[in-house]
Symmetry: C4
Subunit: 207 residues, 4 copies
Amino acid sequence: MAERGNTKGLDRLLTLADGVFAIAITILVLDLRVPPGLIGRELPAHIADLIPEFISYGISFAVIAIYWQAQREVFEDIESSDTALTWMTFLFLMAIAFLPFPTLLLGEYRDRQISVIFYAADAAVASLLLVSISWYARSGHRLVPEDIDEEQARLRTAQGLAVPVVFLVSVVISFWSPEIALYSWLLLVVSDPLVRWAWRRARRSSS
Amino acid sequence: MAERGNTKGLDRLLTLADGVFAIAITILVLDLRVPPGLIGRELPAHIADLIPEFISYGISFAVIAIYWQAQREVFEDIESSDTALTWMTFLFLMAIAFLPFPTLLLGEYRDRQISVIFYAADAAVASLLLVSISWYARSGHRLVPEDIDEEQARLRTAQGLAVPVVFLVSVVISFWSPEIALYSWLLLVVSDPLVRWAWRRARRSSS
Amino acid sequence: MAERGNTKGLDRLLTLADGVFAIAITILVLDLRVPPGLIGRELPAHIADLIPEFISYGISFAVIAIYWQAQREVFEDIESSDTALTWMTFLFLMAIAFLPFPTLLLGEYRDRQISVIFYAADAAVASLLLVSISWYARSGHRLVPEDIDEEQARLRTAQGLAVPVVFLVSVVISFWSPEIALYSWLLLVVSDPLVRWAWRRARRSSS
Amino acid sequence: MAERGNTKGLDRLLTLADGVFAIAITILVLDLRVPPGLIGRELPAHIADLIPEFISYGISFAVIAIYWQAQREVFEDIESSDTALTWMTFLFLMAIAFLPFPTLLLGEYRDRQISVIFYAADAAVASLLLVSISWYARSGHRLVPEDIDEEQARLRTAQGLAVPVVFLVSVVISFWSPEIALYSWLLLVVSDPLVRWAWRRARRSSS
């Protein structure tokens, strides 16, 4: 019982989570390097060679930003933490903290299918963990207030499940072209409003 | 509507922002290295060779400090966050988190124009994003209280726009001398009081 | 007296602690590297070679997660900080911040006993410091409220002492097989409920 | 006036400071490396060679812990921030964030005087900035409440000035032996109670 309804404990968990996100997006830059001693046109040429790394840097920054916003929304209604929620949150943070590795892979080997699959698998696991956290906290109003909007919660679960679907589709596309698979992740930016639109349409037609 | 007026969400966004700034200024030191095994006068000679790196370290620390203070002022009146503000803040943080890369470039190639342009472009983008955040939150009192001082807000916008102007001027100077361009950034330290002085003078003469 | 009963000081100490934990779990990924320029089957082969590093990454993430939760429980009842508590907390944080080093050792040399002993020693020191913090704050209600549950506090001390016992046992096992010693740490995940069960059983039989 | 008495701004400044301290003490470990591929007795031999690095790691951790506690005490009574205090705090944080560089130097070249002087100079600058912050905030009750204990403030200034004195003495000792100079820093741990004892004695004899 001492572990249930831990409000201050949740605050610290979210501080930790914000720290992990802040570090994950900031250390991405450590993989962008220029060796010393380049002369003449070698320097601009080397920087031009870094363009794939710049792109994977930008993609990873955007992906982590999307996950940060998704977890912020999931934790918005959650009032306290217990042992299970804390462990699920740590697993989610592990998936996020691991992202710089597939990002490195993508920067160096973006035309290889294995890079895309690694990245997509990591990101899909992160999404599924986030959906699990949301489901666990909300089922039976375990860690959310009684008066929470159920409809809103279901919409969010649908939005959360759209993310691993995008990554799964990208894995399928990667058999055809790893680069197009990579750009298909930009669908994530529009998936939230898209799911919301589909949701409202479905509700209207059912009522 | 659920995404509007998110106060707790803004607190977490600012915690994340402070984390990104803290990491960005602290990892700058990771590029200052001394190889092991130097003997006799080699060690002081190697440290003396690092002086350009020390200077670009100091400049970047000061630039990031200026941006941190600028965003603190911008967010001072903002009461809540929505999706657009969150994304603009992430883009701003990306420009900040990216700064260690042009800093590295400056430390190794400070006499090359490309280094100055890279740095100035990144910093100018950061400024423009900050001005956009301020404009977005304040226009129509979208995310600020009704009783906010409009005059003060306009002064801040003017101060914010002075920053990309300084960086633009430095790019022009860099065609003549990259090193002088670099030192022209120190104008940023005095640009705030300068704009304030010009602003008050302009207001007095118009009234 | 000015140093006693420092509540705001404790808040800042915990913010620092959360920062150290967040960085320690996030920089673990920096040791997972893939060199550029691999062609054909070299890339999947290199990633397969990283599997021991992935395992030691996962173990360290789990160990740090366990310690974070343990310290969160220890500090739950503590209301303020004094000089001694602050120093003990810094020593504890040093043991945590040091963990990436034995993690690196484990990833590269997991079949060597010295890696296991290094890791186990560091982790055991961290546990003992945490137990000391708990004992120091609770003895004579020094830094906890008067109405704290003594029974609960004793249970926690027992749980805390179980951790160095697990690591000591793993060192003994490491003489026989370093790899099995490594997996014995997974006992930590079940040690908390196990000690709680034994505790309740012992109490029931004594009453 | 808008920049005076900024309470929320001070909270964010301290969050940033705690972040910088957390990162500075956690990234120290990144300089402790063991190359892959060592066989037989090479591994324990290499770890034994790291002992100077372990010592400079421990010293730097302790020094940063001392500074964190010193700044926590200085900021305890400060209620708000203005532009000057913010800049002084950033300069102080720069001196702290720079410490991993002289730490690296000490680990690799602890028998060289230049390492000791670099470290001592950085640490002395940090102390002097902290004393300046305290003096600035307290003079004329600029940023502290009216009812603050003046006597206590003067004692703290004396304690703060003891730190650069220790580092200055260590520089003198370094002409004779860099290693003994290094250990003389441990005086910092006792300097606080020592100054307090001398202070009380002086007050008693003057009254």
